[in-house]
Amino acid sequence: MTRRTPSFTRRQAANLPDTPPQALQIRQLSVVYDRSAQAIRGVSLEVAPGQMVALLGANGAGKTSVLRAIAGFLAAERAEVTEGAICLGTRDLRGKSPSWIARNGVAFVPERRKIFDTLSVRENLEVGLSRQQAKRPHAHEELVYQYFPALEALSSRRAGFLSGGERQMLAIGRALMCQPQLLMIDELSLGLAPSVVTSLMRTLRRIREEQGASILFVEQNAGAALEVADHVYVLENGRVAMAGDPNQLMDVSEFRDVYLGMADEGTRSYAALIKSSRAGSREVG
């Protein structure tokens, strides 16, 4: 099957000036839920322009909280950023509303409840367009269909009838419509067949290469994440425990044992013990 190559970037499609992508910088970020449970403490990370960064960690390690803090999504979850800074280039994102952050270059694909069931696929894609962009919606849709051709055939279908993989494609496609400088995806592979995950990961790499958008994604499947990421952060108990490029991390035996499950029979139980002990109490004292 021949792949359609995008002949022009989305900025050209929208008649927008080619603004250089900005780096995301997070410094000493702390997030507290319900004024009682500390989800993140002192996390610092950076996503360089055009870089694909994976956030790994066990359940409850604070991965989703990091993404929500960046997207301004915490207030709805009764959580708040208590310390630290979140900047995209020179713009401070901390304390801003989710819609402001979305309009300023950060697209977020949450883990669940991400598409509008009663709207058609096409309407789902068009829902976030600005008044200016809405005058030429097909130019933006065309870009999405280049990466997800399956969506084009489904464009008139109600999104509520889509399968899990199609929903994920639609959610990522809609995020692309917002012309993001940074695309954040929570739990990319949740509930999807391995072949779908591989294809999605490849598409993300293409998006990064062809559109120049930075990508920050959360993934439970460490092996799949390592294959595509340029840089990996491993969170444990709300802190960055390890960071580096995939090759560097592969050299760390603890990472291999705990996250890739490559430990032999004897050390496997030890690795599981380390993992569970790190999910300790996080009450704000």
């Binding site: 829902v127 464009s155 917002c178």
Partner: protein, 361 residues
């Protein structure tokens, strides 16, 4: 050249989609023209009592369309309909009855007044969801009715306010036919404007907010603004309906604006079809016509029928009970209302005799 070659499939698909949209629009326009022409024609053949009924239905439809946009499209269930109608009507009594402003200006100003009240309720509603918004609008109902009652007693006493005849330039709207035609124009304007807004960017944003407000916010939609604008815009339309109704009846008293009225409007949109503009019109017609239908059915019963006397004496209770029964029946059996029922019937005949081959789209 390469770009053109690459883009052709998508662009042609897009054009196909646009063609389909235009064809659907054309069908809609044709349907609207036929219905409109029939409605106008009826003005010249209908009896006075039927034209009166038609006017009542049209004015109720204006209010129902607005409530349906708020509830069906934006997802905010409101029991404040009677309060917004009262705001419009009482503003009309002051501006039209006391200050003698021209009729059309009074309608606009009454809409603005109701819109302001809508904005005042809309802002706190940003912090509420679901049941709390219903309770908030419920509280608004009592606040407005209390204020209006005090105002009425202080100004004119329990008889209520009387309004002068409505006059547009040199045309005085007096006969039932005049009122019928005026309210028909008003409902046509409302249908056209609301349908245009709901099919466009704003309508999509409202549906997104209704379906998942958090997901809507991350697509760049300002959810708070959408909700407040929704409250203000729909309250404006309801206020205009309230003022029109005040002029039509010629008298305004707080006794009209009961909680029962608010519930009747909820019944209109549920029975007609949530989120559908034609549904609101059909629902309004159904609910307004229901008491007449009951009277007719009772009239057909033989006088020896054992319940005939009871039905005649308890007709109002029966009517209120029937609204409840219809709401429950529709919610259980056809949540899409009469409009969805009609579509189902149409689909049945379109696909007949090849049943069970429904197309999902």
């Amino acid at each position: 050249m390469k770009q053109a070659a690459v883009d052709r499939p998508t662009i042609s698909a897009w054009r196909g989609h646009r063609r389909l949209v235009r064809a659907t629009q054309r069908t809609r326009y044709r349907g609207a023209i036929v219905v409109g022409a029939l409605a106008v024609g009826y003005a010249f053949v209908g009896s006075n009592s039927n034209l009166f009924l038609g006017t009542t239905i049209f004015i109720a439809a204006v209010g129902a369309i607005a409530l349906n946009a708020l509830t069906g499209n934006l997802g905010i269930v409101s029991l404040g309909q009677a309060a917004f109608l009262a705001t419009g009507a009482f503003t009309a009594t002051y501006l039209g009855g006391t200050l003698h402003w021209p009729f059309l200006l009074v309608l606009l100003a009454s809409g603005v007044a109701a819109g302001l009240v809508g904005g005042i309720v809309g802002v706190p509603s940003l912090r509420w969801r679901g049941l709390y918004i219903i309770l908030g609008t419920f509280a608004l109902h009592y606040i407005v009715v209390y204020g209006a009652t005090k105002y009425e007693i202080n100004r004119v006493g329990p008889g209520g306010f009387n309004l002068p005849p409505a006059k547009i330039f040199s045309w005085t709207i007096t006969s039932q036919r005049d009122w019928y035609l005026f309210s028909l124009v008003l409902v046509a304007l409302t249908v056209a404007c609301v349908a245009k807004v709901l099919r466009g960017r704003t309508g999509r944003a409202w549906t997104a907010v209704r379906d998942r407000d958090l997901a809507a916010s991350i697509t760049g939609i300002d959810v708070s603004r959408a909700k407040v604008v929704g409250f203000i815009a729909t309250s404006f339309v309801v206020g205009v309906a309230g003022a029109t109704s005040a002029y039509f009846v010629g008298n305004v008293t707080t006794e009209t604006f009961t909680l029962n009225l608010a519930i009747q409007y909820v019944a209109m949109i549920i029975i007609g079809g949530l989120g559908s503009v034609p549904g609101a019109v059909v629902g309004a017609a159904f609910v307004v016509y229901l008491p007449h239908m009951i009277t007719k059915v009772v009239g057909l019963l033989p006088s020896s029928y054992p319940l005939a006397g009871w039905v005649n004496t308890n007709i109002f209770d029966l009517e209120a009970g029937l609204y409840g029964v219809f709401i429950i029946l529709f919610l259980l059996l056809e949540p899409g209302g009469l409009v969805a029922l009609a579509q189902r019937v149409r689909r049945y005949f379109v696909s007949w005799p090849f049943r069970d081959r429904g197309v999902i789209a």
